[in-house]
Symmetry: C2
Subunit: 250 residues, 2 copies
């Protein structure tokens, strides 16, 4: 009886959204993904091979170089990694993936490549049907409704700014508070997000480095040790504590 | 005879490009445009009314609010200001302008509005034919070949990233050196520009706040007190001193 219930639950959960949306891959003084590994061990406990999407190419490194870096990190929790560029048919690679990780880098490049390789809608389908997903930085930014609150430089022109929409708001990874006493006249992050809200209605979640969102079905929870900063149109920005349920935000 | 020569020279110069491309409108501890006013008095000495393009709307302020701010600054050098949004036909407004100023704000919004109002090519035509131009920040970014080295947030989707091309390279206004000892893991400005060069060949001029480029015909000169940082594809970035001739850079 207990065994049946367990199977029943597993079947139920297997078709639920299951995401980790992290501000950054690496925190100060840490190695790549190190701070997240205990969480990822649990998140990817049912999979043996992870599909990696290296399209964002941080600093212009190659897909192979980037995939190798990810392979090294996941080897420590006994998960094998394959880069999407290693497959002839990237759409099939996504359809058959046990789990998906999109790494950070340049969001414009990432989104351009997702469209060019025709995988954007396939990723949406499989993740909405339960394929566990991990995003870091640019790979998290695209989990929002649009990429319009990225911090990245528009080094290439994507055919659209529309992204996965796994959460009903936008994300600003690597969220940075204004630097007190700064003499720099360029816009602060908060000013930029306010400009976004002059033209767009969806909330923006400013995720500080070390924070992540855990998405289980429709449940969205802030994780990590830090507070996050929430921007809603026509409202003062406000802070929320870790473990806050953000499911209502839209 | 002297008088004829003078007229001849004026005629010659009148069809030459004549631009001030400034990193920022405002330097720390200064008021709006203050540090540039002596330069602008000379730059706009032959005009009585300036056409202002307020499309970039810094912080989401209205076209009227922005134009009023510019009007106040130019009143101190006896130049009247009209906003392009005050005209029924913005293309005619550009064609008839004695001088043009494009203010800072969000570059994505600015470029989207230039295309939407169909004025991009008209500005290119009149400025290439001698109408004096001033750009600050976003209004300077668009003087390059593309807007792909802006620092701004992509809050709206422009139909193209192609911009004026008054200089044969790209610009990065508000150029910021990496902050020594920073614990932030987001990309530095230099990393972002290197990512740009993984996909694009044109040089990028990093203009620090307080610097500007003076363009007279094909002559491009760095002005202000600070050095600028030049990024060329497949080369180490390097510094150039004020008064350096950048005409060769392309």
């Amino acid at each position: 009886m207990f065994y049946l219930n367990d199977l029943f639950l597993q079947k139920l959960f297997i078709h639920m959204k299951n995401l980790i949306i992290a501000s950054t891959s690496t925190i100060y003084n840490g190695t790549y993904l190190e701070y997240l590994l205990p969480t990822l061990k649990e998140h990817f406990k049912n999979i043996s091979t992870l599909l990696f999407i290296p399209y964002a190419r941080p600093g212009g490194i190659t897909h192979d170089q980037y995939t190798e870096k990810v392979r090294t990190a996941f080897a420590t929790i006994n998960i094998d990694v394959k880069g999407i560029h290693e497959y002839t048919n990237p759409v099939e690679a996504v359809q058959q993936a046990e789990g998906i990780f999109t790494g950070g880098g340049n969001t414009f490049l990432l989104v351009q490549q997702l469209y060019k390789n025709n995988v954007l809608n396939t990723v949406i389908d499989v993740v909405n049907n339960g394929t566990p997903y991990l995003g870091c930085s640019a790979g998290s930014n695209i989990c929002g409704l649009t990429m319009e609150t990225t911090n990245d430089m528009p080094i290439v022109y994507p055919p659209s700014f529309k992204t996965f929409g796994f959460v009903p708001f936008n994300l600003n990874p690597h969220y940075l508070d204004p630097i007190e006493g700064s003499t720099h006249m360029g816009e602060t992050r908060e000013t930029r997000i306010n400009e976004f809200h002059a033209f767009n209605t969806q909330p923006v979640v400013g995720l500080r480095e070390g924070s992540w969102l855990e998405v289980k079905g429709d449940q969205i929870t802030l994780k990590g040790e830090l507070d996050a900063r929430i921007f809603e149109q026509n409202k003062e920005a406000y802070e929320v504590k870790t473990n806050t349920d953000l499911s209502h935000l839209n």
